[in-house]
Amino acid sequence: MRIFDLALKDLSQILRDKKVLLFLVVMPIVFTLFMGFAYNAGESGEENADSRLGLAYVDPEPDSRLSQMLFARLEESDAVKVIRLEQAEALDSLRRGEVAGVLVLPGDFDEQARAGKVPQLTLIAESNSSEGQSLYQLLRVPISQLMSAVEIASISAEMQASPAEYSPALELAWAKWEAQAGQERVRLERATARVEASWFGDNPYNQASPGILVQFAIMSLVTSAQILVNERKTRTMQRLMTTAMRPWEMVAGHLLAMFGLVFLQTALLVVFAQLVLGVNYLGEPLGALLVSLALCLWVAALGLLIGVLAKSDDQVVLFSLVAMFLFSALGGTWFPLEASGGAFAALGRLMPSAWAMTGYQNILIRGLDLSAAWLPTAILLAYAVGFFLLAVWRFRKMEI
């Protein structure tokens, strides 16, 4: 009972200050909406908007047959919007962001190819942007097939010892490649267990919502972990020690308050995401609840540790922010760990925040059932116990 009294006292103390709501609810909602926009940037837009990547096509010899073949293939593409431009004009368009890249063909494209050399086509684009890389990938296949047709034409001309054979063989080989272009030779399928589950490309909040939820659960410690520091500063903790309340009850009371606060925040964010953003946490309600409970318990234990370690309010803020930065970045709440380097990803996957993300993603993106929530929950609980024991150890030392 004393534990509950202490927890209620902490909660009323924290929630008395209305600015707490800004950190607990308003900021994470604003961040979730913002990150959803960010993930969705360039992918969605208006329903009928042309989402093809702009490509300026610079060809010094528009009469070149190979150039005509390539241009015609690119014009049929659903992914590239190709326009012929002069080089200077094309580079200006690239600078203004009107096209994602400029493809420059060599002046003697046909002659080089016919002579058995490999003509070099240059794609001018931002190599570190996804648009630049996508264009490069999209161009590689048609250019490879065009060069293949050239090679086949050369073989045919040699076999018949007739240079005149080159052109009809080129046309025939290219026609065969064109016929293949419409066939599905590789089929991509995303392994979602439920039909309605979808990748965050369809709903960007499937990534943004759990990411911000985990990040702000840790950030909420800025307010809740200050209680312990304030109790020490105002000597109420020492006064509490003179009562019949045992040290473990005091620790448990504060832990319960922090847990309650983080869980309240998590529940509000889950409900908001479910009702307003269409993030389907309720696709597996028990799984979402288990992961959330375990996450909140771990965050509360972390808060307890911060509260015990910090000597001032400023230190609580600093330690909480450092914990938030570390666990959020390493745990893949800001960007998928797949996109990061090997060592970072390996380290990140060990983080409790990464396990919380995995638990939520199993439900939201992979569409898995309750069984997929057990492992993340168990690992988060193990982390919670570990942080709690550390906090208790420090607490005992502090009191001695």
């Binding site: 648009e131 045919s156 490649w177 400023d314 922010l321 990061s340 380097g341």
Partner: protein, 426 residues
């Protein structure tokens, strides 16, 4: 002299505070460092990929009268087990599609490649009606794209061989020549050798490849390392965010002194109140300048960031200092106590930073147009424009507009804040 003394005292107090050091220098460096670590910066600029876990189900079998020695599916399978890819692909075999799907769901593998039983037969007849299926974990984007690319290239090689045979034979027949089946292996070998060389050059020898990717700046100046470009923008975003935080936090010293009673004591001394306020303002400006210089130096040596031409950098930093100090003075002039300062700094500056594009400077393609327009109404947005230009190596003349706007905003906010403080304390 008193102005300088007051400013010096404030600076000393600021830099004695662990919290202040943490928030002004350590936090932006920690965040930038994490991103540097995440994207391979610690391995000397080599963005080493996380190893991809690929499962292969090869059900392909040779048709009865096949001229091939081994099924084509075996070549696809072997590609994932090849020694050359072992550093970035961990491949394993699965007996059937169900087992591979279960492994993807259990996250044992990220991608499963299902090679159908009639792949060879389908390719040999030219019907191409037996596609290879790639099943991927829906949280992944890079690994499935890479695997799809590899399989497509392999199938293109096989299809190309088929097209070569069909074309040469059809052209011979068109010219009244009867194709000799004994010549076919020779054509196939020649085509296959060409295709292997072509692919090797495409992926490994850019100087000989049929398609090369070049940065827009190449040719004008040496192209910058993409990691450094990314880190430059990341660091600039963090530096601006924390500069605005520092401007406001440093200005809070006046509230702290008010609460502690030392401000009232100071007012009893023969020091003009205007000088006290001026000393406080000077401390804010110096703190933000010092922070900017420390972060730029650390960014240069730790992350290899080339900030740009000296004059351009000076303009970008100048704009940042003026705008951050001005906004700091303005924000704190509305705040009555240090307790109120927390949400103002946390919420207000975070919201303005978001709108200014500080957290999304590196997003390819940028934010939607409406967000980019909103950035024009925030001081952070204009400071970021200045840094983007400086980092891109632009001449100082290109930075005049963002500098002038940052200066104008800074002066206006400073003036309003100073009037508010004057009303309160004078």
């Amino acid at each position: 002299m008193k102005i300088i003394n007051i400013a010096f005292k404030d600076l000393l107090r600021s830099f004695r505070s662990l919290f202040m050091i943490g928030m002004t220098v350590a936090a932006p460096l920690l965040l930038t460092g994490l991103i540097y670590f995440a994207f391979g910066g610690l391995s000397g600029g080599d963005v080493s990929m996380t190893a991809m876990k690929v499962g292969v189900v090869n059900a392909d079998a040779l048709p009865a009268d096949s001229p091939l020695e081994a099924p084509i599916g075996e070549n696809i399978r072997a590609m994932f087990f090849d020694e050359s890819v072992q550093s970035w692909i961990e491949a394993r075999d699965y007996p059937d599609e169900a087992a591979a799907r279960a492994a993807v769901n259990a996250q044992e593998i990220g991608v499963a490649v299902i090679i159908p039983a009639d792949l060879s037969a389908s390719l040999l007849t030219g019907e191409n009606d037996a596609p290879v299926t790639i099943i991927s974990d829906p949280t992944l984007t890079i690994a499935p794209a890479v695997v799809q690319d590899m399989v497509t290239m392999m199938l293109d090689g096989v299809s190309g061989g088929g097209i070569a045979i069909q074309t040469v034979m059809e052209r011979q027949q068109a010219n009244g020549i009867q194709p000799d089946p004994a010549e076919i292996p020779g054509w196939v070998t020649r085509y296959t050798d060409w295709y292997k060389d072509f692919q090797r050059d495409l992926f490994h020898h850019p100087e000989k490849a049929a398609l090369v990717l070049t940065a827009p700046s190449a040719g004008e100046a040496e192209s910058a390392d993409p990691i450094q470009q990314m880190m430059g923008l990341t660091m600039a975003g963090q530096m601006i965010f924390f500069a605005f935080f520092t401007g406001a936090y440093a200005m809070m010293s006046i509230l702290r002194e008010d609460e502690e009673g030392t401000l009232a004591r100071l007012f009893t001394t023969p020091t003009e109140r205007a000088n006290i306020l001026a000393g406080k303002f000077l401390a804010v400006v110096l703190t933000v300048v010092l922070q900017g210089l420390v972060l730029m130096t650390a960014g240069h040596y730790a992350f290899g960031i080339a900030w740009g031409q000296a004059a351009s950098v000076a303009l970008a930093l100048g704009g940042q200092v003026l705008a951050a100090s001005g906004l700091g003075v303005l924000l704190i002039s509305f705040v009555k106590t240090t307790k109120q300062g927390g949400p103002v700094l946390g919420g207000g500056l975070t919201a303005l930073g978001m709108l200014g594009g500080l957290f999304t400077a590196n997003i390819p393609g940028g934010m939607p147009a409406a967000f980019q327009m909103l950035a024009n109404f925030t001081p952070q947005g204009w400071v970021l424009k200045g840094w983007k230009l400086a980092l891109a190596g632009s001449a100082p003349v290109d930075l005049v507009l963002p500098f002038v706007i940052s200066l104008a905003l800074g002066v206006a906010m400073f003036a309003i804040g100073a009037v508010m403080f004057k009303k309160r304390y004078m």
